[in-house]
Symmetry: C2
Subunit: 321 residues, 2 copies
């Protein structure tokens, strides 16, 4: 039996995993037992990378071959410290519907100005519906840019098509029925032409700070930008200043900038003072956990590893080094 | 040429109408000219019923055969004062996409708690994403009740299917692929089983106060109720008290109760003090006006009348008497 060291969402309903694998829960081990176990561990199952597994302990894991992330993103994993030849899998697909739904909620709240109308109701009491209605974006016939076309991006594109939008993807994949663009020219084209843009990319060396001052300035003045991926894909100061200068532009995000290894919510900059900002406390992924989709998706992949089958969602380590 | 007395959204781009019909704009006529014109008017094109056209003036309109509403709803039309044999058409279909989109924005804002997370960010700073994520409703696999299956209800059902929801309709129509129920038993079943309910019914004698204390008590404690139709379909005090008692239930509305002939926004009762309430200033229909869908839809029907063709969207007058 393969030995897995696990820090899962919860031990509950992990019977599929424990039936075929020898599982050790990190929280159950004292330092001595952990150090004794490390050389025999074949695989890791982690959510946010546990601080116990520092570079020294990783060096001791001479048997380690596989790391399964519980999160969809793997940017929390210390790739530079992993022993050579260790395969890392993301939990792509485990959150597609739930995070996609949440992205669409943010997109619609921004396009229809729901948060603003709801909170500023006193200010609008004397305005006519026709006057206020002009501030509402109609999605049908408009263009949706989907940055990253994994499970989440695919869900978002499905909703966009149901709403009669023209979908354009920023992706290295060939996607049947969807215009797919790459590189700086592709990104420029999508940002210029889209009325709404959803970021559903992994955070890698390539995507970090992908959307800065220049990219924001390419976007339509009344566009909506939604982020359900990782905050660092967007430059914090650039988007803050863009929102200050462009009152019809909306940035709606569920994800927050990491400072000193911690996702900072609320943010350091006064985003919540801006009317054209919508922020939620990184609940899109966690909203999938009660339905067990992410857990089951990760366990299935761990079982593939345990059985010697080809694992899925292997990430390209060099994108993270 | 038929004579139409019109109070349209705006005179702009009414060339399709004026090319085939003799149009008089109510706002251009003084009292004397209006009174002189009335006996020769064949049709009316109105938005909110104009106060100039009182019962006495309607009596003078001996030639009147047709009333086209600019609004999707016709509850503003004084059916009891209309001369016998006058056909009334709603503007059904003119707002389907835009009001449908808005309904989905309200539904998602409620299901994902977007307005609450965005405004109460200080209160949630110390809570974990997993804890907060439990408050988010995932739509996939859930049941959507659509009350009224006209153009707007149809759009909403399309979105529901794209989100993987099971759609149940409260409608007298046979709808291919959708379970369609009628009567008190049908309504009870839909209210009991739905996780989200969208009201897209016309306001008639039958639908007025359709959703009162009893009906609300049938719904799931964590359900979402969206209203983009007319406020009076829901009993004001009943829904207020239901929201006070059931903090996980959300009522999200774009429409407001009419008091003394005027839609009152903000409402008399302190709905905006409730965290589980979302309100927008009746912008869903008006958001369609810049795109000219409602105007074109109404003009097409007026041209059918002018050409002696069968008009569409004829309402059953007895539903409003």
């Amino acid at each position: 039996l393969k030995r897995i060291l696990a820090v899962p969402f919860s031990k509950q309903d992990m019977s599929d995993l424990t039936a075929e694998v020898e599982v050790y829960w990190l929280g159950d081990l004292n330092e001595r037992d952990l150090d004794r176990l490390l050389p025999s561990v074949d695989g890791l199952f982690v959510n946010l990378w546990p601080k116990e597994l520092d570079a020294q302990r990783l060096d001791a894991m001479s048997n380690l071959r596989f790391v399964q992330s519980g999160f969809a993103g793997v940017n929390h994993i210390p790739f530079q410290a992993l022993p050579k030849g260790v395969v890392v899998s993301s939990n792509a697909g485990g959150f597609s519907d739930e995070v996609g739904e949440f992205a669409w909620a943010l997109l619609l709240a921004a396009a229809k100005r729901v948060t603003e109308f709801n909170s500023k109701w006193k200010e609008n009491a004397d305005k006519t519906p026709l006057e206020l209605g002009r501030r509402v974006m109609v999605l049908k016939g408009k263009t949706l840019g989907v940055l990253g076309y994994g499970g989440i991006g695919g869900s978002v594109a499905t909703y966009g098509r149901a709403f009669g939008m023209k979908v354009r993807a920023f992706s290295r994949k060939d996607i049947p029925g969807v215009e797919s663009l790459t590189g700086e020219a592709g990104l420029t084209s999508i940002l210029k032409e889209s009325d709404a843009v959803v970021i559903a990319l992994p955070l890698t060396n390539i995507t970090k700070n992908l959307i800065g001052e220049k990219e924001l300035s390419l976007m339509k003045p009344g566009a909506v930008l939604v982020n359900v991926a990782r905050a660092e894909i967007v430059e914090e100061r650039a988007v803050y200043e863009h929102l200050q200068r462009n009152k019809t532009f909306v940035y709606a995000t569920d994800v927050w900038w990491t400072k000193e290894g911690k996702e900072t919510y609320p943010p350091e900059m006064p985003f919540f003072d801006l009317e054209n900002f919508i922020g939620t406390p990184h609940v899109s992924g966690p909203s999938a956990v009660p339905g067990r989709g992410p857990q089951n998706n990760a366990v299935e992949n761990l079982l593939r590893f345990a059985r010697g089958e080809a694992v899925r969602n292997v990430v390209v380590a060099s994108d993270y080094l």
